[in-house]
Structure formats: structure tokens, C-alpha cells
């Protein structure tokens, strides 16, 4: 599948944004956040900023961005529509959470409830995003039990490093969050390695004989293509540029997205330059997750290309 920049930005940036909101809401609900009046509203604004940037980027993918509002209508059947609804529905409780924190304080019941509601909706949004891909039966690298948990784990990890960085910049040391980011980074790395092992051992979904209804003939080989130049199906679904570099890109993704942030989180947890280390970890994770997401698309094969012998 062709990795479109707008979709890479959507899934990566909303992972950071909604991941951060999920952490803030959960920690506030449990009463684990310091009662500084401005820290939380600033963090919520940054989280919603990441999410908004991703959502705006996604509209660049559309042939008709001005019609994007129509995508809220088909939530009964479409995961893309559900993602849109959940993404928007997270904003009011998140804004209320920040406002109530500032007005009523960190300990108020209303603040905590708003935080938990925002956190739940943030998780639901990321889950809906993951299901857009996980529900597509023609793409075996997406339609499998890894996709949805992976997206949630990556969002938890993204939010953890971002919150660790904001905390360290604001308050200095951030031992607990740095350890959380370290654990999340290792969990995310494990999930990604398991995913790569899984797709490498998958079998093709169908044979050309089944795709052409010629099973009774045994083998079927392509002879002539219908057209000698590319068409939409080959451009969109038959993307192959990345596959020859996949091994190197997987190493780059694993190091930048997970290993380097894990190392930097470990450094921060030992109170060595916590703000610098966690900020570097966040930037490394952002770049690494973009590479990881690029591979998620570039390594995905679509069953329709079997008609072209691809």
C-alpha cells in the first residue's frame, strides 16, 4: 500500500495527542498529578494540538476536504466514520477537564470525572483508527490480531514519553513517568517485533487460481496485462519501493522509535539531565514512529494486485 504522508501524520500525531490525553485523564482520575494550576491545562492544549494537527493533515488525503463533515454520518458501519466521531467527541470533555482543573482544582470530583471521560474517549479514538486498518480483509498485514493492540500500545508509549518530557521541563526530575516511558517503550518494541515476525510467516490470502476461478486447472500464470502503463490499482495498492529496504528500515524504526527513547528514559529516571533526555526521547520516538508507520503501509500487500501477478 502506498504510504501517504497525510495518513502517516494522522496516525502518528493522533497517537501522541490522544495518548497524552489518556495519560493525563487517567493519572488525574487516580489523583497522581501535582496540583499545579497551569501544568495540566497546558498539557491538555498540547495534546489536543497534536491531535488537531493529525486530523487536519488527514483531510489533505481527501479528494474533497470541504466535504469532510459528511464523514461523521456513517458510524453505524464505518470505522473511519467512528474515528471521526470519537476524535471530535474527545474534545469537549478534554477542554472541560482542563477548565475544571483550573477553576475547581485537581481534587474536585468533576475534574476527575471529566479527566476519566476524556481518557476513555481518547482510547476509543485510537482504537477506531486501528480498526480502520484491522477491518480491511484484502490486506493480510493489517487484518490480523496484532493491529489494534499495537496501535493502542504505541499511543500509550507516545503519550508516556511526551508527558515525561513535559513533566521534566515543568518540574525537573520525573522519575515515575520516565520509568513508565521506559516500560512502555520496551512493550511497544516487543509488540512491533512480534508483528514483524507474524507478517513474515503469513501465507498469501488467495492463489491466482482462486482469484480467477480457475482452480480446476491447477496452476495459473499471468500472460498479458490489461494495460502497459500503471493504473490506479497498481499505484495505490502495488507499492513496492520500500520492500527492498525493509530490513534496514525496520532496524532504523526499532532504534529510533523504541530503543533510543528507552535508553534516554532510563537516563532520565536516574535524574541525569531529565528534561533534555526526555525531550530527545520524544523527538526520537516521533521520527521513529513515522518510519514505523511508513513501513506499516509500505510492507502491506493488497490481494487485488494478484491479478497483475504482483
Amino acid at each position: 500500500m502506498t504510504p501517504a504522508g497525510s495518513v502517516l501524520l494522522l496516525t502518528t500525531l493522533t497517537g501522541f495527542g490522544y495518548g497524552l490525553i489518556a495519560w493525563l485523564g487517567t493519572l488525574a482520575g487516580l489523583g497522581f498529578l501535582p496540583a499545579a494550576p497551569f501544568f495540566l491545562p497546558v498539557c491538555v492544549a498540547i495534546g489536543l494540538g497534536f491531535s488537531s494537527a493529525g486530523l487536519v493533515a488527514s483531510t489533505l488525503h481527501l479528494g474533497h476536504p470541504e466535504r469532510a463533515w459528511r464523514a461523521f454520518s456513517q458510524w453505524r458501519s464505518s470505522w473511519l466514520s467512528r474515528e471521526g466521531v470519537a476524535a471530535m467527541a474527545t474534545f469537549p470533555p478534554a477542554v472541560a477537564f482542563a477548565g475544571l482543573w483550573w477553576l475547581l482544582g485537581a481534587g474536585a470530583v468533576a475534574t476527575r470525572v471529566a479527566g476519566v471521560v476524556a481518557a476513555v474517549l481518547a482510547f476509543v479514538t485510537v482504537f477506531c483508527t486501528s480498526m480502520i486498518y484491522a477491518s480491511l480483509k484484502p490486506i493480510r498485514q493489517w487484518h490480523n490480531p496484532h493491529t489494534a493492540p499495537d496501535y493502542l500500545i504505541f499511543a500509550v508509549f507516545s503519550g508516556a514519553v511526551l508527558l515525561a518530557a513535559l513533566w521534566a521541563i515543568w518540574f525537573g526530575a520525573a522519575k515515575g513517568l520516565a520509568v513508565a516511558a521506559l516500560v512502555a517503550a520496551l512493550a511497544a518494541l516487543g509488540a512491533k517485533l512480534a508483528y514483524w515476525r507474524f507478517i513474515d510467516t503469513q501465507k498469501p490470502l488467495v492463489s491466482l487460481a482462486s482469484a480467477t476461478g480457475l482452480l480446476s486447472f491447477g496452476t495459473v500464470q499471468p500472460l498479458d496485462r490489461p494495460h502497459f502503463t500503471e493504473n490506479y490499482v497498481l499505484r495505490e495498492m502495488g507499492y513496492q519501493i520500500a520492500r527492498k529496504h525493509a530490513v534496514k528500515l525496520r532496524r532504523i524504526a526499532a532504534v529510533l522509535a523504541f530503543l533510543l527513547p528507552a535508553l534516554l528514559a532510563l537516563v532520565a529516571s536516574e535524574r541525569v539531565l531529565p528534561a533534555v533526555a526526555t525531550t530527545a526521547a520524544t523527538l526520537s520516538a516521533l521520527v521513529g514512529l513515522l518510519v514505523e508507520r511508513w513501513l506499516f503501509f509500505a510492507e502491506a500487500t493488497h490481494v487485488s494486485t494478484i491479478y497483475y501477478g504482483v
Binding site: 474533497h64 466535504r67 498479458d224
Partner: protein
């Protein structure tokens, strides 16, 4: 609505039967499809650089050729590929706007290009590669089963069939109602063992393909070993030359 419609009692299930035994791979169906549809329901269809080095555009019908089997019994099979108007099409249910829909009354899968946002998700959901994106208009396009021909009262009744069916010179394409057990398409499928493509993916495609016939006419032996019907002169020559 992109939820699938409940099947209506007495509703039709319109689709095509494509005979892989008689298809000669002439691409006439693809050309007539393009010709009709660039002026029809989804008009116009992109057609860039048509006489240049790298022509490209949107076509609803693409004709592949395959070699089926191997060795002396292998066959060249010409294979037209278009929308199969599936009974459970994921291209419809993934649509976030309601632009992609399946008609309750006859099962035709269509795109309302007035509300399509051009997210392309429907094309990702189609395992048959049947949908092609119109870059010029920013919307998705697909086979309409020539909805503007089959119900078109301005056309003589005999011409109310899809353009691909009307033009096929070897009568390899048939159009009809699969819900009617006595229709031509239902009978062809029953008699010839019509098959669905990739049934294991669960899209329940309506269109059926008739596999090439395997029967061969037994050839006469080149020489007869025994018997007196062979010309006596040839028999004598054979004896002389065989020494």
C-alpha cells in the same frame, strides 16, 4: 446509508456471467464500457495522454490474459475483471459518508459522487481492484452495471443491457437476474458450473465466471497399423521403404 440493505422480497440480484471459454480477449467490452461511461452516470472518465507514450485513466473493466494449467494441455484464458456487485461488499460498509451504497431493489453497488469525499478507503476494501479513483474530480468511480442503459426507456428494449454485454462479439458476456432460477444467467451457471472469484474472502460476489471447457476432440491416429482400407500402393511403398 452505507449499512447494507435488507434483501427485499421479490427483489432482483442483477449481475453478469462471463464465459471464459468463449472470451477471445479482444477488449471490446472494455472499450465500449469506457465509451458509454465517459458520457453516462459517472461521466466524464479521466483519459490522459490517450495517444501518447504513457496513457492513463479510469476504466471499469480490465482484460487480463492467463495461462491455465501447464504443458500440452494448458490454455490461454482471457479474463475480464470488473465490479462483481457483491452481496456483502466491504467497499460499501467502510464508506464514512454514505456515498458508497448498495441498492435494495436490484443489488447494484454505486457511488454517489456528489457526496464522496475521496478518502479511497472503499478501494482498499475491494479485493478485486474494481474501483478506480478519478484524480480530476477527486472522487471514486466504479462499474454501474450500466444503470443508465438497463432501465433506460429511451433505448429499444433489446438494447437495455450493459455496454460490455451488448458489444461482445463472441457472446461471452451475459446479463440478468440471479434471483430468478429460470433466467439465462442462472441457467448458464447451473449448466456450466459457474464459479465465484475468491469466495474464501466472504464478499459473496454476484457475478459468475464460466470456466473454460476441458473437452477435446480426439484426433484420428496419423497411421493405421492394421486394416485393409489403406491404399495398396502406399502399403507397398511402406514395405519397400521399411527395409
Amino acid at each position: 446509508m452505507t449499512s447494507l440493505p435488507e434483501p427485499q422480497p421479490g427483489g432482483k440480484k442483477l449481475g453478469l456471467v462471463i464465459d471464459l471459454d468463449t472470451c477471445v480477449g479482444c477488449h471490446a467490452c472494455a472499450v465500449n464500457c469506457k465509451e458509454w461511461n465517459t458520457g453516462g452516470h459517472h461521466a466524464p472518465l479521466p483519459d490522459h495522454n490517450p495517444y501518447g507514450k504513457e496513457p492513463h485513466g479510469v476504466w471499469f473493466n480490465r482484460i487480463h490474459s492467463y495461462e491455465a494449467g501447464c504443458g500440452s494441455t494448458s490454455k490461454t484464458v482471457n479474463f475480464p475483471r470488473s465490479c462483481l456487485h457483491c452481496e456483502t461488499p466491504q467497499c460499501v460498509t467502510v464508506c464514512p459518508t454514505g456515498a458508497s451504497y448498495k441498492r435494495a431493489e436490484d443489488g447494484i453497488v454505486l457511488v454517489n459522487t456528489d457526496i464522496c469525499i475521496g478518502c479511497k478507503l472503499c478501494s482498499w476494501a475491494c479485493p478485486y481492484g474494481a474501483r478506480e479513483f478519478d484524480e480530476d474530480q477527486g472522487v471514486m468511480k466504479k462499474c454501474t452495471l450500466c444503470i443508465d442503459r438497463i432501465y433506460n426507456e429511451a433505448l429499444p428494449e433489446a438494447e437495455r443491457e450493459p455496454a460490455c454485454v451488448a458489444t461482445c462479439p463472441s457472446r461471452a458476456r451475459h446479463f440478468g437476474d440471479f434471483n430468478d432460477p429460470d433466467s439465462k444467467v442462472s441457467r448458464l451457471v447451473a449448466e456450466r458450473g459457474g464459479v465465484a472469484l475468491m469466495p474464501e474472502l466472504g464478499y459473496a460476489p454476484v457475478n459468475r465466471y464460466l470456466p473454460p471447457r476441458k473437452a477435446t476432440i480426439p484426433a484420428k491416429p496419423l497411421e493405421r497399423q492394421h486394416g485393409g482400407s489403406v491404399n495398396a500402393l502406399l502399403k507397398m511403398l511402406d514395405m519397400v521403404l521399411s527395409r
